[in-house]
């Protein structure tokens, strides 16, 4: 039992090294490649913090193992009492504080790019593609008519869909996020975008999908019994396809059923 804890801590350091080495290759726990430029920056922050905490974890365990090995109790020797070391305490307070301060300052740019309206793409902010209203348990989407600007209140020519958000790929777009009932959270995991929808607030959210394809849209805030089924989809497509989609949506929504009768 004498050396057990010593080996335990050394083993965790060794295991950590092994997992850090083989983990990314096996795709364990890591979020994969982000599908947006901002997502890549967020991932870079994630990996930076992972590196800092990883090095600290391994170092602490190695030192713990070493100390337990060197100073473990010996037959007949009594331990002696020490009040502590002022210098040591100052060092282990200042160093982590310095690291935290560094992270806090270093991430500010990414945070500002994601959250500060002044840093948004101004053209996208002036022309939000849609208003997304979260409700138990679906995403109701309102687009402005093609060529028009989205208004705060519904307009006679607005277009509506549910759970199926379309957006042009390869450029920043803005949606306005609202909630009809309780707190929800608009989460595009592949794009690393997550924003709470708060009743009473209209929150602009921007994202940019690198590739034209379908991405998951999920609710990331436990909003009630049907939270798990509050799934949507973001379809990023080339601008031309997006325009065609909007045109078709308009035709469908203002269908008066008359032509079909003439066909028969």
């Amino acid at each position: 039992m004498n050396r057990f804890w010593c080996l335990f801590f050394v083993a965790s350091a060794v295991l950590a090294v092994v997992f850090f080495y083989i983990g990314p290759a096996c795709g364990w726990w890591f979020p994969g490649v982000a599908a947006s430029p901002l997502g890549q920056q967020i991932d870079d922050l994630f990996y930076l913090i992972l590196a800092i905490t990883g090095v600290t974890f391994i170092g602490v365990h190695a030192v713990l193992g070493y100390i337990l090995w060197k100073f473990s109790g010996k037959e007949g020797k009594r331990s002696d009492f020490q009040h502590g070391s002022h210098t040591l305490e100052v060092v282990w307070s200042i160093v982590p504080a310095g690291v935290l301060l560094f992270i806090a300052l270093y991430q500010m740019d990414v945070w500002a790019a994601f959250r500060m309206k002044s840093r948004f793409d101004q053209e996208a902010l002036a022309n939000p593609i849609a208003e997304v209203t979260a409700r138990q348990f679906e995403w109701r989407i309102r687009y402005p008519a093609p060529g028009k600007v989205l208004q705060d209140t519904p307009q006679p020519d607005d277009l509506y869909t549910v759970n199926d958000l379309h957006a042009p790929a390869g450029k920043p777009v803005v949606i306005k996020l609202r909630s009809e009932d309780v707190l929800h959270s608009f989460f595009l995991p592949h794009l690393r975008v997550k924003q709470d929808a708060v009743p009473g607030l209209v929150i602009p959210v921007w994202f940019e999908a690198n590739e034209p394809k379908a991405y998951d849209l999920v609710c990331a805030e436990l909003c009630g019994w049907g939270h798990y089924k509050m799934r949507g989809q973001l379809t990023a497509q080339p601008q031309a396809d997006f325009d065609a989609y909007m045109k078709k949506l308009k035709e469908t929504q203002f269908d008066d059923g008359f032509k079909e009768a003439a066909d028969e």
Binding site: P154, V162, K229
Partner: protein, 411 residues
């Protein structure tokens, strides 16, 4: 000592964990209220006919009589689930159990575990009454109608959109719901018929009392057997008839000729059309405002009336409309722009023209012309915008497009 107390705790924890892992109870199709009032022997007849022709949730029977695509066997399909006859019904049930059951219930009775938290209540399909459909009056919906409800969801209710399941799975679900509705209506009609023939406990006691007056020696069992014998004798014929009726009904709903389409194009939703629509809305002939209120807020004078209970001479204790299922229902507030059956002009046209089955909303008078119906629709579609402008694609009209943007941006 320490070891033994530890092992006791471990054993206790394990047995608790194992107890939680037992098989869930076998799902059953709960009997309809019309069946539970029957005498036990008649109840058995109903449940036996149902099990024979429709099976149980875990062992469905595909009655070929009905116009449902049960899924022909595909022995070469890569998915083993398709190898046997009736795979579509089984797959539909699987999906239903995951997505629908918790509100709509195993038997489609709208009494799933989450249903009691909801307002409006989830639909009970067992009477075969559907509100959101393209067909007129009491006709059944087409499969496309059920499909559409699943794709769009029903705004303003808890029915969500299942659009992301994809066409195929939605098709499976629509067919399973159709099958559940047929099964439920079959049960209701069968049990209802037996009830009318006097097989309810209440009726039986009454007829026993009547018979006792003329013949003191008659026993309760003899009266019961007499009624049941009659029912048993006619049962095979009754079953065939009921099934045939249901087949005809659903085939009629499926017939494209029965879907309602306008015979005139939508009237251009200009101020004149909206004004004409408003006049009709308020008029004595069309009477929309009696229920929907003069401003379309769903607060017309009729909402203050006491409504008579169906098949009874009593009225409900509280004023206000009730729907077919006996639930309180209010005329839609048309100023909110939430349209349960969809916001396309054709959807509103159908609601105005056909009314809404299962609710007090009647079909519009047939003295009203197609153009007038469109005027009413245009007026209704202008209510969310203060009656000034009706929902329309806008620019197609070729005028005022630019001006409208400027005006809207300024507001």
């Amino acid at each position: 000592m320490r070891f033994s107390s530890l092992s006791i705790i471990c054993l206790g924890g394990m047995s608790l964990a194992l107890a939680g892992c037992g098989q869930p109870p076998e799902p059953v199709f709960a009997p309809s209220a019309k069946a539970t009032v029957l005498v036990p022997a008649a109840q058995r007849l109903v449940s036996e006919s149902l099990v024979e022709n429709f099976g149980t949730p875990n062992k469905l029977v595909a009655w070929q009589q009905f116009p449902i695509n049960y899924g022909a066997a595909e022995p070469t399909a890569s998915d083993a689930g398709r190898h046997d006859e009736g795979w579509r019904l089984r797959e539909g049930r699987k999906l239903y159990m995951v997505h629908c059951l918790h509100c709509h219930g195993v038997a489609g009775d709208g009494a799933g575990p989450t249903s009691r938290f909801l307002n409006p209540r989830p639909r009970d399909y067992r009477q075969g009454v559907f509100k959101f459909k393209s067909t007129a009056g009491g006709m059944k919906p087409s499969t496309a109608d059920l499909h559409r409800t699943l794709v769009e969801g029903i705004p303003g209710t808890y029915m969500p959109s299942f659009v992301l399941l994809g066409q195929e799975q939605i098709g499976l679900l629509a067919d399973y719901v159709k099958w559940l509705s047929i099964r439920g209506e079959f049960e209701e009609k069968l049990a209802g018929g037996m009830g009318k023939a006097g097989a309810t406990s209440e009726e039986l006691r009454k007829s026993y009392k009547d018979k006792r007056e003329s013949d003191k020696s008659i026993s309760y069992e003899a009266v019961e057997n007499e009624i049941l014998d009659d029912i048993r004798k006619e049962l095979p014929e009754t079953l065939t008839e009921r099934a045939q009726d249901l087949t005809d009904d659903w085939l009629a709903g499926e017939n494209p000729e029965n879907a309602t389409f306008p015979t005139a194009k939508r009237v251009r939703p200009d101020a004149a059309s909206i004004a004409r629509g408003r006049e009709l809305f308020l008029s004595k002939d069309v009477k929309c405002s009696d229920c929907h209120g003069p401003a379309g807020r769903g607060d017309g004078p009729m909402t203050e009336q006491f409504i008579k209970i169906t098949d009874s001479d009593r009225s409900y204790d509280t004023p206000g409309f009730r729907d077919f299922w006996g639930q309180p229902i209010v005329p839609r507030n048309l100023t909110r722009g939430v349209y349960r059956f969809g916001r396309r002009p054709i959807d509103l046209y159908r609601k105005v023209k056909n009314g809404i089955h299962g609710t007090p909303m009647p079909a519009i008078s047939n003295r009203v012309t197609e153009e007038q119906i469109w005027d009413v629709v245009n007026f209704v579609m202008s209510l969310p915008f203060g009656g000034k402008e009706s929902a329309s694609p806008g620019e197609a009209d070729g005028e005022g497009g630019e001006a409208k943007v400027a005006e809207a941006a300024g507001s």
